[in-house]
């Protein structure tokens, strides 16, 4: 297993290098001038030129790239052009919030989605199946900024169970958990909607397999057929979707963090994009990419744990 992980990590290096290059080029291809974004509409061309020089944007792009690459390889993501804060400090402060939110949403999504998907598959085309599919469709159809606002109106404004501003007090984990509930449900609903559909179709396929029919003929108890023989084999596509969906969850966390006013990578990246903060954008993209690589690695490792044949 360790060899497998090392091989996968080594294979990630070219990917990360390619991403570093692409990210550097992409943020500069996007129109918009950081100097104008920082100094506004009253700055003279001389003032703008002075700031570009201060930020190093007047140098040859190749020199800027080599400097960025050199720093990135040493783990130095630089300093924000706008706020003068260290990029890594800002990201490291925001990253735990995004990871916690994503993991919580993933857990909620799986806890709702997997049993519901199995249940729907067992009642194929019955009322429960139709209802589950309908709810799943609703979950997929509602963007998080709609479901989030809806939850805020009901649970914060009407029932006063949660605050609107979801910024947890530093060091107070109970407050953190309290303020995590609504955002995690908002994201978890979408996750559950995906998981339920994949689980249902995967279970239906597995339940039609010969070995399930054989098990039934041998008199294996129904519960064992469903959970031991059925679900354990149906889980591989579900894990794939969960793995892939973590990337989408991280993307959706941008909107969730904004709606619930939570700290996190989403708010940082939107702020950086609005202000054309090249260094912050570069740092963010590198971290996002790294997260996706790690999640894919974990997904691959999970395959091996669920189905030992994959390791071979």
């Amino acid at each position: 297993m360790i060899g497998f992980i090392i091989r996968r990590l080594l294979a990630s290096i070219p990917t990360l290098l390619a991403v570093l290059t692409l990210v550097f080029l992409l943020v500069r291809v996007v129109p918009g001038d950081p100097a104008i974004a920082i100094l506004g509409d009253r700055a003279t061309p001389e003032t703008l030129a002075a700031l570009r020089a201060e930020l190093g944007l007047d140098r040859w792009i190749g020199a800027q790239y080599l400097e960025f690459l050199g720093h990135a390889l040493r783990g130095d993501l630089g300093t924000s052009m706008v706020t003068h804060r260290a990029v890594w400090t800002e990201i490291s402060e925001a990253l735990p919030h995004t990871i916690v939110l994503t993991l919580a949403a993933m857990v909620i999504g799986c806890l709702i989605g997997i049993p519901a998907g199995v249940w729907a598959a067992l009642h194929r085309n019955g009322a429960i199946d139709v209802l589950t599919r309908l709810l799943s469709l609703l979950g997929l159809s509602f963007p998080v900024f709609v479901s989030g606002i809806f939850l805020l109106i009901v649970f914060a404004l009407q029932l006063h169970l949660f605050p609107v501003i979801g910024n947890p007090r530093p060091g107070d984990w109970i407050d953190g958990l309290h303020k995590l509930v609504l955002p995690a449900i908002t994201l978890g609903i979408v996750m559950a909607a995906y998981v339920v559909r994949v689980t249902r179709s995967s279970m239906l396929q597995v339940l039609g397999e010969d070995y399930i029919r054989t098990a039934r003929a041998k008199g294996v108890p129904r519960r064992s057929i469903i959970w031991r023989h059925g679900l354990s084999n149906a889980l591989i596509p579900v894990v794939t979707v969960v793995g892939l969906y973590v990337g989408i969850l991280i993307g959706n966390s941008v909107l969730t963090e904004i709606v619930f006013n939570r700290p996190g990578l989403g708010k940082v990246i939107v702020s950086a994009l609005t202000q054309r903060d090249y260094t912050m954008l570069q740092g963010m993209m590198v971290i996002y990419c790294f997260l996706i690589v790690v999640v894919n690695l974990i997904t691959d490792i999970s395959y091996g744990l669920i189905d030992p044949r994959v390791k071979q």
């Binding site: 003068h84 900024f145 805020l152």
Partner: protein
């Protein structure tokens, strides 16, 4: 039974404890701002509404607008207790208050800090407002409490440049030298509130400055929270989690917030005038008749009706109303679609004309532009709008890539600044001295220049009015509407003055601001 009695006693005690000993007013203010994050806390680089609002609570100028106003006639002492000028208005002497302290350990304000600040504000390398100080010849400290400024030429309002606005804020020299580039995250001023901490993308915390020269502020703490989602910000205000909120220039929003209990909507000056700047050198707008057709096709009252009667008013000139030198009698034409069509036909466009333009995706600006687009279409003028994000919009209009530029702005309320930045040939985009002249207008240079050095106020105003008439006649720009500043606060918050205007675009917090 014993358990029941114990429980009852405990509940009664809890209920008594829940009643506050005295109904002391709150001293913590929570502000909800439409922002991802604060940008620059260095006042000489603070340009956005987000930054300017909070910078005004931290710093002072030599003089200030009376809180709640933006009338140059009501400028009053701030860090300078008095001042005098020579008869030709070229020599100015400011006498500083004694004993004014900077926040933290940065000591007493002296003339050296003032000289340092004004030189810094006039330096293109350190200030976004350096162009405003072009006429400054020398700035010297003649003693620790006296600053002497000599101008190379007269300026329309020297006091306007040293007020608590833009480049006029005074910073601590020691703090700037100590923090260097990080000063923008460690602001040190003399204002009623001092910087405490800044959590990226979350909030900025300020505390009352006990040593404030006008007395200790009644508020003890200000939390400036960045809440970018309009809906979430409104819900937080509605839920009592925010006391003061940045609003929307939208009548529906105003009506909704006004209907909430314990809420007051603030509508105040300055009005940001939106002009359609027409590039008089680009086809087909190089033909005066096409520009006149646009002027006749625009329907200002309809646009204002769309924006909302409480938040907008029709533009009356190419500079905002109420500025010294602004006039409502500059020859603006009323809507006349038939005349617009006739002018287009004369210009050689009997079947109408299509103009490709670039515009921002900011919802309010985009909505207004779409109304204008519908109005122009009635006259046969099709605007092909390419919508881009706001940063891209700003970059591309400065590259002259859009022949029509919708631009809304407020400036110091003297005609000179708006006229110079938007309509003087030196400010044409692309030039080394460019500011925001998107129309390439140069028809009123003579009047704008003459007014700068005219010492007779009446004649000066006459020159500014003449400049506006020429710009309107040449249709360098078509004024649309002026949008006022919209905020809302809870009824128990008292600013300590009547809020009619604020050049920082947010309510000024003073030592007198408090909860009732």
């Amino acid at each position: 039974m014993t358990l029941r009695i114990t429980l009852s006693a405990a509940l009664a005690a809890a209920a008594l404890l829940a009643i506050p000993a005295s109904a002391a007013p709150k001293t913590d203010l929570r502000v909800g701002m439409a922002a991802q994050d604060v940008g620059q806390l260095d006042p000489h680089r603070a340009v956005s509404t987000i930054d300017r609002t909070v910078v005004a609570w931290i710093y002072n100028g030599l003089v200030r607008f009376k809180p709640g106003t933006m009338d140059p006639k009501q400028i009053e002492p701030d860090l300078a207790e008095k001042w005098e000028s020579s008869s030709d208005k070229l020599d100015w002497t400011f006498h500083l208050r004694h004993g004014v302290k900077f926040h933290g350990d940065f000591g007493e304000l002296t003339a050296d800090d003032v000289v340092f600040s004004l030189k810094r504000a006039s330096d293109a390398k350190t200030s976004a407002f350096s162009a405003d100080f072009a006429a400054f010849k020398t700035i010297e400290a003649t003693d620790p409490y006296t600053v002497h400024i000599v101008l190379a030429r007269q300026v329309p309002s020297l006091l306007g440049l040293v007020t608590n606005y833009s480049g006029g804020y005074i910073v601590s020299r020691k703090a700037v030298e100590k923090y260097g580039a990080d000063f923008t995250r460690n602001p040190v001023g003399t204002g009623p509130f001092a910087f405490v901490s800044d959590t990226p993308n979350q909030s900025l915390e300020l505390a009352a400055f006990d040593g404030y020269f006008r007395g200790k502020p009644k508020l003890e703490h200000v939390s400036y929270r960045y809440i970018p989602s309009d809906s979430s910000r409104d819900l937080a205000f509605q839920n009592g989690e925010i006391d003061l909120i940045y609003g929307k220039q939208d009548q529906a929003w105003i009506n909704r917030i006004r209907a909430l209990p314990n809420s007051v909507v603030d509508v105040f000056e300055p009005g940001e005038l939106a002009n359609l700047n027409l590039n008089i050198t680009a086809k087909p707008l190089d033909d005066l008749r096409v520009r006149q057709a646009i002027a006749y096709a625009v329907n200002r009252p309809e646009l204002v009706k769309w924006q909302g009667a409480d938040t907008a008013r029709p533009g009356q000139s190419v500079i905002p109303a109420g500025y010294l030198g602004s006039s409502g009698d500059v020859g603006l034409v009323n809507t006349d679609i038939a005349k617009a069509k006739a002018l287009l036909k004369d210009a050689g466009y009997p079947d109408g004309v299509t103009i490709k333009i670039i515009h921002t995706q900011l919802p309010q600006m985009l909505g207004s532009m779409q109304v204008v687009q519908a109005q122009l279409r009635k006259a046969g003028i099709t605007l092909d709008i390419q919508v881009v994000d706001h940063a891209t919009f700003h970059q591309q209009i400065r590259k002259d890539l859009s022949p029509i530029v919708y631009y809304a702005a407020a400036r110091f309320p003297v005609a000179d600044i708006y006229l110079t930045q938007f309509f003087h040939s030196a400010s044409i985009v692309g030039k080394p001295t460019a500011v925001t002249n998107f129309s390439h207008c140069d028809v009123a240079d003579k009047e704008i220049d003459a007014a700068k050095t005219e010492t007779d106020t009446e004649k000066q105003v006459g020159l500014w009015v003449e400049a506006q008439k020429k710009i309107v006649a040449a249709v360098c720009a078509v004024p649309l509407g002026e949008a006022l500043q919209i905020w809302a606060h809870r009824t128990d918050l008292d600013y300590g003055y009547e809020l009619k205007a604020s050049l920082s675009l947010g309510p000024l917090l003073t030592e007198a601001t408090h909860f009732k």
